[in-house]
């Protein structure tokens, strides 16, 4: 089953990038994001056998609950809620349109939970462009996957420009400008790793 590989790839990429994520969070936050993501990734990896035996939906929910109970910080509830919502909303064999709908539901759940909106330099600023792309793109298959991958990385990069004008870091003014949001970078890394597996599987 392909979701084994997806889980392995998506968690490993976070572990491999722990120092980069730490550095990003040190620049404008409190420096724990890399360790938080690694802790969650390791917790998921330790449940690998259990997850491999589950359906995609159940595996997503299990991973979400694992995030919530092991990560803490903002990332725990945020990635936890994202995964649990995806697990609830996706059909067993999701297509692009299904994913777009499930992401829409996830973004709404995250806004309810954390009061952040798109444009405020959080991982919502990766999820929303990806959702839009999935909704509007005329491409399909490998071409779409490659576009999604690029969109995720570009959107994460773009968060660097978000602080100076508005949003939750406005008092930092120029000081946050130029710094990528750590959670957005994590989100892009995860999406990128998933896309790579999907592309390789074709």
């Amino acid at each position: 089953m392909i979701h084994d590989q997806l889980i392995r790839a998506a968690t490993q990429i976070l572990i491999d990038h722990v120092d980069e994520l730490t550095a990003l969070d040190q620049a404008i936050g409190d420096g724990d994001h890399g360790l938080n993501m690694r802790r969650g990734a390791l917790a998921i990896q330790s449940k690998y056998d259990e997850l491999a035996a589950q359906s995609l939906n159940d595996a997503l929910k299990t991973m979400g609950m694992t995030c919530m109970s092991t990560i803490g910080g903002s990332s725990g509830p945020v990635f936890g809620t994202l995964l649990v919502t995806l697990g609830k909303e996706l059909p067993a064999e999701p297509q692009a349109a299904d994913l777009a709908r499930a992401l829409d539901a996830s973004i709404k759940a995250l806004t309810r939970l954390g009061k952040a909106e798109v444009g405020q330099k959080t991982l919502l600023d990766v999820l929303e462009p990806v959702r839009m792309l999935l909704t509007t793109s005329s491409e399909q298959g490998a071409a779409l996957v490659a576009r999604v991958r690029q969109c995720a990385f570009d959107s994460a990069e773009a968060t660097a420009q978000m602080d100076a004008t508005r949003g939750r870091s406005s008092f930092l003014g120029d000081r946050a400008l130029g710094h990528v949001d750590p959670g957005s970078r994590s989100m892009a890394l995860i999406i990128g790793a998933i896309c790579d597996v999907l592309l390789a599987a074709r």
């Binding site: 409190d30 420096g31 360790l35 919530m68 910080g73 725990g76 952040a116 949003g167």
Partner: protein, 329 residues
């Protein structure tokens, strides 16, 4: 990185074990390390539960005991605890009076405590602490941050809970104390999160971070280090401006070290802050100087002013017996 530790992955656990052993007369450590609780509970009393990322010791575990908290949930360093921890603590220390959560205003803490509060099938309320006047919106905080003022809320609300006040009254009192409390801090050096292995930020040999957060987050601006009097004037001035106090107002003054500041300097800052208060006609009726809400080994301090009324002051003075704050018992 120079630290008295065995391994970055075991710091928190070993520190909790050391804490529990040193204060076995006051606290008990959950075997799963989810929370630290008061050793002896009082049936029917509202349970006060706080918590947050570790690295701010003695906050919160050092404030468990008679007249303050019933339990505290320690997260990883600078990382909010998970909802499971708050639920486990609540199930253990709730004895019929419901639960009051005291939460510092960081999105991580807010979300995790909120999830716990929603899952908890007992009466509960949440007091949110947002006393830091340095930045209106900081990274990953909607609104102001919760900093050293937290311990003042924990103390006053803790005393009221101890005398038997109900959940609604405590929630109202907590909100009122939070509203009448303001803080601002300055850092001279960075802290080093053990697992990160290096300093959170770099600072020049003559620089200070004015308005720093208790996780080493940036504040208002990076400026040249100046004198204790100037620093006290800026910190205390910002705090008084925020509270817009009238001359003659009585206050509790907290001069709080961030972990790496010698007591000698904290008392220099106390003297400097007192001069600012005197000039503004504000009366510090209680003064607390020490490292109570820290950022690991960060050098620097914060100044907190709490505008007390007679009722709050009486509660402040009530007996308290915790690891880090103790009087009249």
């Amino acid at each position: 990185m120079k630290k008295l530790i065995n391994h970055v992955d075991t710091v928190l656990a070993e520190s909790l074990h050391g804490f529990a052993a040193a204060h076995a007369d006051i606290v008990t450590l959950d075997p799963g390390l989810q929370f630290v609780r008061r050793r002896t509970l009082k049936r029917g009393k509202v349970a006060l539960i706080s918590g947050g990322g570790s690295g701010h010791e003695p906050l919160h575990t050092g404030f468990i005991g008679h007249g303050m908290l019933d339990a505290a949930c320690p997260g990883q360093v600078f990382t909010s605890p998970t909802p499971d921890q708050m639920l486990a603590a609540a199930h253990e220390v709730e004895t019929g009076g419901g639960v009051l959560f005291i939460v510092k205003n960081y999105s991580g803490d807010m979300m995790n405590f909120q999830m716990a509060a929603e899952m908890l099938e007992r009466d509960n309320e949440t007091v949110i602490i947002n006393d830091d006047v340095a930045v209106e919106n900081s990274t990953y905080t909607t609104g102001r941050r919760g900093v050293a003022g937290t311990m003042i809320v924990e103390r006053i609300v803790g005393a009221a809970a101890e005398r038997g006040d109900g959940l609604a009254a405590l929630k109202a009192l907590g909100d009122a104390v939070n509203k009448s409390t303001a803080s601002m801090g300055v850092a001279l050096t960075s802290c080093t999160v053990p697992a990160a292995g290096g300093p959170t930020f770099q600072m020049g040999a003559e620089e200070m971070e004015m308005g720093v957060g208790i996780h080493g987050e940036p504040g208002r601006r990076r400026v040249k280090l100046t004198s204790a009097d100037d620093i006290a004037a800026e910190l205390t001035g910002a705090v008084l401006k925020d509270l817009s106090l009238k001359r003659g107002q009585e206050v509790v003054l907290l001069v709080n070290g961030f972990g790496g500041t010698p007591l000698m300097e904290l008392y220099v800052m106390t003297h400097a802050a007192n001069k600012v208060l005197a000039a503004a006609g504000i009366k510090p009726v209680r003064v607390l100087t020490g490292s109570y809400v820290t950022s690991l080994e960060m050098a620097g301090c914060s100044i907190t002013v709490n505008a007390v009324d007679a009722a709050m002051l009486a509660l402040w003075d009530d007996p308290v017996h915790t690891a880090a704050l103790r009087w009249r018992m």
